[in-house]
Amino acid sequence: MTSTPHTVRAGALVATASIAVLLVSGCTRAESSGGLGGDGSSPGITDDSISIGISSPLSGPTAGPGSCTVAGLAAYIEAQNADGGFEFGDGNTRQVEFTYLDDVYDPARAVSNFRQLTDQGIFAYVGALGTPTNAAVMPIAEEEEVPQVLLTTGARTFSEDQEAHPWTTGFVPTYATEGRAFGELLVAADRPITVATLAQNDDFGQSYLDGFTEATEGSQVEVVASATYEPTDTTLDSQVTELAASNADVLLSAVSVTPLQVGVLTKAQSLGWLPSIFLPSNTSTPGTILQPGGAEAYPAVFTPSFSKNPNSPAFAEDEDVQAYNAAFEEYGSQIATTYTPHCTWSYAEGAVLAEAFAGMEEPTRESFMTALRSISDFQAPMLLDGITVDTTSDDEAAISTVELVRYDAGTGGFAPVDGF
């Protein structure tokens, strides 16, 4: 049991490092978050500012959508800040301080980020993307009574029982809502239809299918083939080959990875299988999915839509889109270099946040949650006409309706659907 000088120095190093960690923290138990601030207000809010935070994947495989959940929100917030700030229900106008962190889709990192943000004194945690990451954060948000709201995940967990989880709300339609919309469209056709399903092997794919099955139960719609995939698969050729053997009328492709979805579209037609296609809202962007995938070859391509595509010529004259593009160029493009629909979703989410602020009568988290849960029939920017935000239901996300649209290869945009 001898120690060499190296051990001594290394030991001293550890000691120094540990002390440094303590000093960096610089705060004592007294300052910890959770409770009320000095004057009855919650942490993270003063008379002229409020701070919110988000943790999303900003590097790694899910960083494309992850960056967009931050960039769109940043664009809305910073544009509004520059425009004077946010009006609050208590009569004050506040600037929003926006902090974002990278969690690489790692739950442990997300928990660490959430704790860091609350430690820095954020008022609310808004818009984070990712099912496992948000699932890990949820119990802590509840325990600390920090709002974890308007999450960019369609998993039901975050929306289906808001009495049990009073501090958590989802923003985008649940995956089940989207699946249900497809099912309803097919049932309405009132004839025998065969369906092949391809779903991601996780809650995204599963709840998509669940929604679809709920809507089609007992109808003439029959699922004749189904396959799953892992997000890490390099191609889905074999799954498509398997499904093509069924020669079903419809392919429900609940695939959330851009290149894989394109691969599905190209592979099916290359096998001479031309079903009608149902695509989820997050992988149906014309420019990056439908055109590269040769979607015009199929009799019809349907997708649930609730937001405007800022790159579509159809919306070039739209005021919302012009405001979005200006704000995004200025404040969002540094964060997300490439477009996914999550960019517009999180931009709309900024407007919902503003609406909640406007209804907030006291500078407290409780008041914020009450205001946030009382928004109905709100037309947020970048949402399609007729798609409104309704947060009053305690088992649905803030956006609970979707409109099915049909790809129009001629214009490169979407057209309304009048039946299957």
Binding site: S59, A63, T234, S238, Q239, E242, P259, S270, T288
Partner: protein, 293 residues
């Protein structure tokens, strides 16, 4: 029957993707004796150069050539500026240095092009043809033909040229190679350059299918490593055959073994690789070497 053949054909076209990177791994292993995690990062960086050029209107073939040149220079510079520092030290440190390069290159690619996958134009027509009820894409055929050419080229390089012999000697024992007047540092630079240039070819071949993104090859690298190691690490032919085996085994298992299913089909080639390695540690095509004291 045609379904079975179709599944095999699909497997082969997957295998071609793994093989493209596996060949680059074999090359760098033969040239430097290292397993290089940065391989994928260098390939992606070079492919992004081709991507930027095609977006500016340059034809794909020309963009590919530019990417190969860029890859070669990048690889040689990284060897000269970074890896040389670690070549004489602990091999674990050198491997972690390649991990650092991978992270850095991924971050740099993302800095310029973002993380979201983007479409990449194909060298080959985006069509399929039908033979006896089986559909084959020109892209797969083209990819496989290029890979076979690369494989033969590598085999010739290593077996029949002085440069190849010298590169193998340096990978085996740099210090001793220097004693035979081999210009060790230049050969290592050339080895890294060639591996990164080949990575550019691999990247341009697979990008139309996988879409270009900074992480495009992260998971392919895992398959490619499996293929390279199963093939014996030193054998280009072995790497290609092993990659084809992995692609086909995975697809057949997914299609025919219900217990396995689509979710666990990835386990089949990896379990097979484990079993094969336990039985035959030198890999399918590796030469058996009995080391004596």
């Amino acid at each position: 029957m045609s379904y079975f053949v179709q599944v095999v054909v699909d497997g082969l076209s997957n295998g071609a993707i793994y093989a493209a990177l596996a060949l680059a791994i074999v090359l760098v292993h033969r040239a430097t004796g290292l397993v290089n995690f940065a391989q994928g990062g260098m390939a992606v960086a070079a492919t992004f150069v081709a991507f930027a050029l095609t977006r500016a209107g340059v034809p794909v073939l020309l963009a590919l050539l530019a990417a190969v040149v860029f890859g070669f220079v990048l690889g040689a510079l990284l060897e000269r500026g970074v890896m040389r520092h670690f070549e004489r030290g602990d091999p674990d440190t050198a491997v972690v240095a390649t991990i650092a390069l991978l992270v850095l290159l991924t971050g740099a690619s993302a800095f310029f092009f973002g993380y979201e996958p983007q479409p990449f134009p194909s060298l080959f027509p985006n069509r399929t043809f039908e033979v006896l009820g089986v559909f084959v894409s020109f892209r797969s055929i083209g990819t496989i033909l290029v890979l076979i050419a690369v494989m033969v080229g590598l085999q010739l390089l290593f077996r029949s040229t002085k440069l190849g012999l010298a590169m193998r000697a340096v990978a085996d024992n740099p210090e001793s190679s220097a004693l035979s007047a081999l210009p060790v540092s230049r050969l290592l630079m050339i080895g890294w350059g060639l591996a990164a240039g080949l990575g550019a070819v691999a990247g341009v071949l697979v990008a139309p299918q996988l879409f270009i993104s900074p992480g495009m090859l992260d998971f392919v690298l895992v398959y490619a490593l499996a293929a390279a190691i199963l093939g014996g690490l030193d054998s280009p032919v072995g790497a290609v055959v092993a990659a084809a085996f992995i692609g086909v085994a995975e697809n057949l298992a997914g299609a025919y073994l219900d217990v396995v299913g689509d979710d666990l089909k990835i386990a089949v080639p990896f379990v097979a690789v484990m079993v094969i390695l336990v039985v035959r540690p030198q890999g399918l095509f590796g030469r058996k070497t009995t080391v004596r004291v």
